[in-house]
Amino acid sequence: MKRLLSLPPLVLLIVSLWLSACQPATAPTPPAAQPAQPTAAPATSETTLTVFAAASLTDAFNEISSKFEAQHPGVKVTFNFAGSQQLRAQLEQGAVADVFASANTIEMNNAIRSELVVSGTQKTFVRNRLTVIVPKDNRANIQSLADLARPGLKIVLAAPGVPVGGYALTALDKMNQQFGATFSQTVLSNVVSNEDNVKQVVAKVQLDEADAGIVYTSDVTPAAAEKLTAMAIPDKFNVIATYPIAPLRAAPQPQLATDFIQYVLSGEGQAILQKWGFIGK
């Protein structure tokens, strides 16, 4: 007893060392608390629907959720927007959610393999395409895809494990057909950072910290377009991103989850998605 009371200084030092080293890791994903959406007056017992969705779906799903809440009084939709790979990892570690919307089939298949989603319940609900973005000023004067291989450029991509990062690598490989077998390699040697989700890539280009980035066409929202310019990637090089959505096996609100997915798949939901730059399923 007495020995515990006079704690050895070394232990105390270790204790304080880790107290200081273990700073809360401020996750760089966009905050899940989105600007308040007008909802129907909640009933005294409010039901929460938790949706884990790829970062690229932020604007579209926020609008979809407010329409959904209007149609389902008493329901509050809360989101966790992040890279699909991070969402799947969180779910594997025990995070609780009702719906998982991924930006590629790889992470949905991972979720199925981890028994988070019942195989066969996933549905493709929207598609997307890639585009190159440059800051509004375009001081690096990037005028064509070939310019991306210019030495000294600062290109920001999402990490290969992030859906859009994987798609970007595929698109760059396709460009080798026209620009030479070493094109993608040269472009990749210009990459200065591998971000954790697509919105981080958008942010870095908007801040003019990067000369170019590869994101989804849907990421060039009206707000984003004020600070950056999109440079189209021709279809022959482009990649069609397929987004699956599925209810989670351990969903606390399975019926609501199905309702939400149905809304996303409905004409209304699809119209909202297409309004925000996505391609229909």
Binding site: L4, I14, L17, S20, P28, D208
Partner: protein, 266 residues
């Protein structure tokens, strides 16, 4: 101990609970790492590069902090600086601010569109996305830990001992080196350790200002964060390595300083 029995039990229980809360998760990481295919994990270039980069940048950051922080801490401790309360509050800021704020602040100052952006560009210098940016981020968040601790240490050195030394013929530098520093030793040491550890664990400011690129800016915390999503085994391996490295470095640092303090001639 004059405390009543219940009081003593509560104190012990609270202490034990907190200690366990800290020790158990760390031990779990180590144990899980031992379970996995460690050799395979550590052979991966991602892990090796992250370790190398972390050790390099945190050591440089600590060195910068000590070099520039010691004079500041000494002045704050000794001279009657008028703006002292303000400076102390300013120095405490990076401790309480979320690291992401530090990262954003550095970006707004040293980024291409930052305050010094045009000037840096004129000098053909670009800081974001470089290893230097990692060091800048680490230095920013870690500096207060050393400076405040060193200040306390210097302030606690009895003046009469320094006066005696200079009366006996020692010049300022000799007084500082042979009297002040050894007496302030424990505070200096804990300050170095804390700031070094803070630099090693830095994440938020790094990922915002320096970005994430293997070998150049992906320090161990960033590597853990990325590996968590794709390869949990890798993340655990890096985390375990971080724990062990910190522990070993701590022991070495303490034994060196204890040795120096005991045998100043060595």
């Amino acid at each position: 101990m004059i405390k009543p029995f219940i009081g003593r039990v509560l104190v012990v229980a609270a202490s034990a609970a907190l200690l366990l809360y800290l020790i158990v998760p760390l031990s779990v990481v180590i144990l899980r790492a031992l379970d996995a295919d460690l050799i395979e994990q550590f052979a991966q270039p991602t892990v090796a590069q992250a370790v190398r980069l972390s050790l390099l940048t945190s050591s440089i950051s600590a060195a910068i902090v000590v070099t520039f922080g010691t004079p500041l801490a000494f002045r704050l401790a000794r001279r009657k600086v008028r703006a002292r309360p303000f400076i102390e509050t300013l120095l405490d800021l990076p401790i309480v601010l979320p690291p992401a704020v530090a990262g954003l602040a550095l970006l707004m100052t040293f980024g291409r569109r930052g305050l010094f952006g045009p000037m840096l560009e004129a000098l053909n210098v670009s800081l974001p996305f470089t290893t230097i940016a990692v060091i800048m981020a680490q230095t920013f968040v870690a500096a207060p830990f050393f400076i405040r601790s060193a200040q306390t240490g210097f302030a606690g050195v009895p003046h009469h001992l320094e006066e005696s030394a200079s009366d006996l013929g020692a010049n300022h530098w000799q007084v500082f080196r042979r009297v002040t520093v050894p007496l302030a030793g424990p505070s200096l040491l804990s300050g170095i350790i804390l700031s070094w550890a803070r630099a090693l664990g830095e994440f938020g400011a790094t990922i915002l200002f320096a970005g994430n690129f293997i070998g150049r800016t992906q320090t161990m915390p960033l590597a853990i964060y990325q590996a968590f999503e794709s390869d949990l085994g890798s993340a655990i391996a890096i985390a375990a390595l971080l724990i062990v490295i910190s522990f070993v470095f701590l022991i070495i640092l303490r034994s060196i300083t204890r040795g120096r303090l005991a045998h100043p001639m060595l």
